[in-house]
């Protein structure tokens, strides 16, 4: 066989030659030093050109010169990952403190001794009380969500004071970029008299509160009951009711939970370090694997997926652009843990929560 030209060698390496021709070329190359070198060079060109072309995939979208998307996504991803660690850590602390009143003990401590709030590392840009009362994963998510329209607030001003205080406290704490101990005083602001929530719920007079929220559907997810409320055309929030791990002697009284709603923001994913986890009666599952609610299992799946592939990372990061927020509190009557989730601001969730409380108190729990 005569020496194959470069085109033939590439055809061979690309598997484009007929079997017979390929076999004879292979035999030739095995014995011909210059051709073996040419084959090696061709392999190098094939690999190198593939690599060069891969660099073309990292292009900006459209013609707007923005921050390269991948960089931004990763930043959000790391921030979320950091927050997740903090949440996990917080839950662990709660669990380790042990004892039936661990949840209360921890949060009381937080309130009384501001320094008990561990300052989050600044680069995490996430804050959490050791009781896990407020965790912020994505500060941009907060700045993106303006407060609800003010006229409604003005109408309700006299009644809304306490609630606003609490909301402000939450907000201030959540947006405190130092990420730390302002929490001490702020949490104190948020301590509302024990039956305040109920009182607010009973009194809330604003016009929009008069009509009950429309219930779209009610379903069961595991041990939890899920109710979907329509808060505006096409916009819904989901209420998840979890059975208390123990009967009414649950470590958190409803009043405390009401005074100190747990607010967790992690973009689209939410974890709630339910107080129930602190109860020793049933051995708590590892915090990230807690699958009692749909949301939690999504988180677990999300974490795994994120750890797995860059594509999944980007997808997960992309999901953060429409942040879901969650607030958690305990039902005054049943002791159930209630989790409200929706793509609206925390303040809005708090308002909706009051309306839901009122509706539930009136026995409206089905479509």
């Amino acid at each position: 066989m005569q020496h194959p030209d470069e085109g033939k060698i590439h055809s061979w390496l690309d598997g484009a030659l007929a079997a017979e021709e390929a076999a004879s070329l292979e035999t030739h190359v095995a014995t011909c030093q210059p051709c073996a070198a040419a084959v090696a060079e061709a392999r190098g060109f094939i690999a190198a050109s593939s690599r060069i072309l891969t660099a073309l995939d990292d292009v900006p979208r459209g013609v707007v010169p923005a921050v390269p998307a991948r960089k931004r996504d990763l930043r959000v991803f790391w921030r979320a990952a950091a927050a997740m660690l903090v949440v996990a850590g917080g839950s662990l602390v709660v669990m380790r403190e042990g004892g039936p009143d661990a949840g209360v003990a921890t949060s009381m401590k937080t309130r009384a001794v501001p320094t008990a709030v561990p300052p989050a590392a600044p680069e995490n840009q996430a804050t959490t009380g050791s009781g896990g009362s407020v965790t912020q994963a994505d500060e941009s998510a907060i700045s993106e969500s303006p407060l609800p329209p003010s006229p409604a607030r003005a109408n309700r001003a006299p009644v809304a004071t306490e609630r606003d205080l609490s909301a402000q406290a939450t907000r201030r704490q959540a947006t405190s970029s130092a990420g730390a101990v302002t929490g001490g005083t702020v949490v104190a602001d948020a301590v509302v008299p024990s039956n305040a929530a109920a009182r607010i719920a009973a009194n809330a007079p604003a016009a929009e509160n008069e009509t009950p929220l429309r219930i779209l559907r009610v379903g069961e997810v595991g041990r939890s009951r899920q109710t979907t409320y329509e808060i505006a055309p096409g916009q819904t929030v989901t209420l998840t009711e979890q059975e208390p791990a123990r009967p009414l002697a649950a470590p958190v009284t409803s009043a405390q939970a009401a005074a100190e709603p747990q607010v967790m923001m992690r973009g689209a994913r939410t974890v709630q370090p339910s107080r129930v986890e602190a109860a020793p009666a049933s051995p708590p599952p590892p915090p990230m694997m807690d699958a009692r609610t749909g949301a939690d299992s999504v988180v677990a799946a999300g974490v795994t997926a994120m750890a797995k592939s860059p594509i999944a990372q980007r997808k997960a990061a992309a999901a953060f652009t429409a942040p879901l927020r969650t607030i958690t509190w305990a039902d005054a009557r049943t002791g159930k843990t209630l989790v409200l989730t929706g793509s609206v601001s925390v303040e809005r969730l708090q308002e909706i929560r009051l309306r839901i409380d009122k509706q539930r108190a009136a026995g409206i729990t089905a479509p």
């Binding site: 484009a16 060069i52 072309l53 660099a55 292009v59 900006p60 459209g62 010169p65």
Partner: protein, 172 residues
């Protein structure tokens, strides 16, 4: 699932990547890919789907590129701007942006036919499909590809070398 849906699911990713590499703009690439599938919708039957799709997409790009050279220049300009405007130069990001710019230049330096054959091959088209899409003889695909690869790598390396020299000069 309709046939076009199947075509879309099967080939969209590869087609968009091919077009992105060809055009340097993902939005534009997606537009062209969509238009390609719309054209597929009008066909009663397509013998070799992949070759047909890549050929149509390539022709669309050619037509549009002819009409819209200005846009491309604008894009190149923006790409340069973006390269300059990377604030807090993150080592890896900067490095990658530079690599992408050099890759772009090296690819743009290829003859159109060589470039398209290479990009199609990277998307897994076999020699017959490439020949069909580009109206080449199957026997010449190997030669086209070998030339494209060699030139691409050589011009990339030349760009790399001149960059290193520039950096060395700047450092000294």
């Amino acid at each position: 699932m309709t046939d076009v849906e199947r075509l879309f699911r099967t080939y969209n990713a590869a087609l968009v990547r091919y077009l992105t590499r060809r055009l340097g703009d993902r939005d534009w690439a997606e537009e062209v890919a969509q238009e390609t599938f719309v054209r597929a919708l009008r066909q009663t039957s397509i013998e070799n789907e992949r070759a047909w799709l890549f050929a149509v997409a390539t022709n669309l790009v050619r037509d549009e590129a002819r009409k819209d050279m200005r846009r491309r220049k604008h894009l190149a300009l923006l790409a340069e701007e973006e390269k300059d405007s990377v604030s807090e130069p993150h080592e890896t990001t900067l490095e990658r942006a530079q690599e992408a710019a050099m890759a772009r230049k090296a690819v743009d330096a290829l003859a159109e036919r060589d470039r398209l054959a290479l990009l199609m091959r990277e998307e897994g088209l076999d020699y017959n499909e490439i020949a069909e899409a580009l109206e080449l003889s199957p026997g010449s695909v190997g030669t086209t590809l070998s030339r494209a690869r060699r030139r691409l790598v050589e011009s990339y390396e030349a760009l790399q070398k001149s960059r290193e020299e520039r950096e060395n000069n700047a450092a000294s």
